[in-house]
Amino acid sequence: MSSAQQQSGRPARVGRVGRLLPLVPFLLFVAIFLIVPVVTVAVGAFRDADGAFTTDNLGALTDYAAVKALRGSLVLAGSTALIGAVFGALLAWLIVSAGPDSLLKRLTLAISGVLAQFGGVILAFAWIATIGIQGVVTLALQHITGFNLYGNGWLFSIPGLIVVYTYFQIPLMVIVFAPAIEGLRVQWREAAVSLGATRWQYWRHVAVPLLTPAFLGCALLLFANAFAAYATAAVLVSQGQPIVPLLIRQAITSEVLLGGANVGFALALEMILVVAVVMGAYSLLVRRTSRWLQ
C-alpha cells in the first residue's frame, strides 16, 4: 500500500499529521494516567513540602525504619521467589513429564493461570480462614494434637506473608517455566543416551545447564512480583511497617508526618529502581533462553 496513492490530491504534510492524529487519544491518556504519575514520583522525591529542591527525602531512605522495611521486602521477595521457583519448577516438571497432551498438564496450567492472578484481599482472607486464630486447620490441629499453629500471630508478620505469597508464586512459576521444560527436545536426550549417558548424567550435563538461565530468569520475575505486591500485605499486616509497600502506605496516609508525601515519593522511587533492575536482568536471561526455545 503506497500512501501517495491514497493521499493523492492532498499535501503530504497534512497526510502525515492526519496519520498521527488517531494516536492522540491513546497517547494523551497514557501521558495523563501513567507518565504524569511516574514523573510526579520521580520529581517529588527530590522536593520538600514547599517544592524546593532537596535530597533530604533520599536521606530518609537510610533511616532505621526505611532500611528495616527494605530488608523486610528483600527477605520476603527473595525467599518467596526461591521457594516459589523450586516448588513451581518441580510441579512444572511433574506435569510436563505426564505427557504433552495429558489432562493433568492442561488442568494444572489452567488452575495455575487462575491462582497466579489470585492475590489481595481474597487471598489474605483465605489464609486467615485456614491458619488464623479461628482457622479451620488451626482448630483441627489443636483438636487432634494439641499443637497451637497460630502461635503468637506469626501469620500477620513476614513469616506469614512468606507462606501466603508462596500461594501465588508457585502457580506463576509453573506458567512461566513449563514452556522451558517442554522446550527440551527428545532428540537431545536420545543423543546423550546413545553416547552412553545415564539419566543422571543427562540431567547433570544437558538439561540442568540448559534450563538454568530460564530458571533464574523466572525466579527474578517472581522476585519482582513479590516485591511490588501490596494488597495482600495491606490486609494482613495492621501493626508496624515490615515491608516497603506498607511504609509507603504510612507515609502517604499519615497527616502527622511532615513532608510525609515526599518521603513516600522517595520510597516509591526506590521501588521503581529495584523492580527495574530485577526486570532488566530478567529480560536478559529470557532472551538467552529464547535462543533455543522455539
Binding site: 500500500m1 491514497q6 498521527l20 488517531p22 494516536l23 491513546f26 497517547l27 491518556f29 497514557v30 495523563i32 494516567f33 501513567l34 504524569v36 504519575p37 511516574v38 514523573v39 510526579t40 514520583v41 516448588f87 510441579l91 511433574l94 513429564s97 505426564a98 505427557g99 489452567a110 493461570g113 487462575v114 492472578q117 489470585f118 484481599v121 481474597i122 482472607f125 483465605a126 480462614a129 485456614t130 479461628q134 482457622g135 479451620v136 486447620v137 500461594y167 508457585i170 502457580p171 527428545v186 536426550r189 511490588a228 501490596y230 494488597a231 495491606a234 490486609v235 509497600p245 509507603i248 502517604i252 496516609t253 513516600g264 515519593f265 516509591a268 521501588m271 521503581i272 523492580v275 527495574a276
Partner: protein
C-alpha cells in the same frame, strides 16, 4: 519421557497430592468459615451469603465493582483497539512506542502509580465528582499490558493490511474498516482482553483503598472486623466469578487454537 519407574510414579502422586492440599485447603477453609455461625455457636448457616444482597453497603460496593469492570472493558476497547489497528495499518513506525507504553505498567508497581496519581485524581474529583466509577481511568492503565498482549497476538494472526485494502478498495471508510472488518476478525482477542480485565478489576485493592473508593475488595476488608463470615463469603463469591472468567479464557484460547489448526 514415556517410561517411568514405579518409584517415580509414587513420588509424583504424593507430590501432586501435597500441592493439591496446599492450594485447595485454603479455599475449602474459606467456604467452611463463611458458613459458620458467628461466635462460638455450632451449626451451619448461609446468612453470610445472603448478607451480600441484603446489606446496603456491600451491595452497592458489588454494583460499583461490576460497573467498573464494564466501564474499564469498554474504555480499554475504545482506546486500545482502534489505536493498535491504526498503528499496524498506517504508522508501523509507532508500534514499538505503543508496545512499550502498554507494557510499562508491568514494570511499574501499581502502588507507585497510586502514589503519583493523587494530583490527577484531585482534578478528576473537580471535573467529574467523587464517584467510585472514576477509578475507570486508573483501571484502564492497570489492564493495559494484559489487554495489549491479547489483542496483539490476535492481530498478528490475521492479515490486517490485506483485509483493510480490500475493504478500502470497495469504498469503506476507516471507521468501517476498523469496526466492521478488523474487529470481527480479532473477536477472540477482544474477548480475552475483556475477560482478564474484568478479573483484574474485580479484585483490585491498591487503587481503590488508597484513593478511598468503596469497591468490593475495600468493603470486604472493612466489614471483616464486624462480620468476618460475610467478608469470607464475598471473597469466595468473587473468587469463584474470577476463576470462572479465567478458566473460560483458557477454554476460549484452546478452541481458537484448534480452529486455527484445522
Amino acid at each position: 519421557m514415556t517410561t517411568h519407574s514405579s518409584a517415580f510414579k509414587v513420588f509424583r502422586i504424593l507430590a501432586l497430592l501435597g500441592f493439591a492440599a496446599f492450594f485447595f485447603v485454603p479455599l475449602l477453609s474459606l467456604l467452611d468459615f463463611s458458613t459458620q455461625v458467628p461466635g462460638t455457636a455450632p451449626g451451619r448457616t448461609w446468612d453470610a451469603w445472603t448478607f451480600m444482597v441484603t446489606d446496603e453497603r456491600l451491595r452497592s460496593a458489588i454494583i460499583a465493582s461490576l460497573l467498573l469492570a464494564v466501564l474499564t472493558v469498554a474504555g480499554m476497547v475504545v482506546l486500545l483497539v482502534p489505536t493498535m489497528i491504526w498503528v499496524r495499518l498506517r504508522v508501523p513506525r509507532a508500534s514499538k512506542l505503543v508496545e512499550i507504553l502498554c507494557l510499562l505498567p508491568l514494570t511499574i508497581p501499581a502502588l507507585v502509580i497510586v502514589v503519583g496519581i493523587t494530583n490527577v485524581y484531585s482534578w478528576i474529583y473537580y471535573l467529574l465528582g467523587g464517584s467510585p466509577l472514576t477509578l475507570t481511568f486508573a483501571y484502564i492503565v492497570l489492564v493495559l499490558p494484559y489487554s495489549y498482549r491479547a489483542l496483539d497476538s490476535s492481530l498478528a494472526a490475521i492479515d490486517v493490511t490485506t483485509l483493510a485494502e480490500a475493504a478500502r478498495s470497495l469504498g469503506a471508510g476507516w471507521l468501517t474498516v476498523i469496526i466492521r472488518i478488523v474487529v470481527p476478525n480479532i473477536w477472540g482477542g477482544v474477548m480475552s482482553a475483556a475477560f482478564i480485565s474484568v478479573a483484574l478489576v474485580l479484585g483490585e485493592y491498591v487503587f481503590s483503598s488508597l484513593l478511598h473508593f468503596e469497591t468490593l475488595p475495600v468493603v470486604m476488608a472493612a466489614i471483616y472486623q464486624s462480620y468476618a463470615q460475610a467478608s469470607m463469603a464475598a471473597a469466595l463469591a468473587s473468587m469463584a466469578l474470577v476463576a470462572a472468567l479465567l478458566l473460560g479464557l483458557t477454554f476460549l484460547g484452546r478452541r481458537r487454537e484448534r480452529k486455527g489448526m484445522s
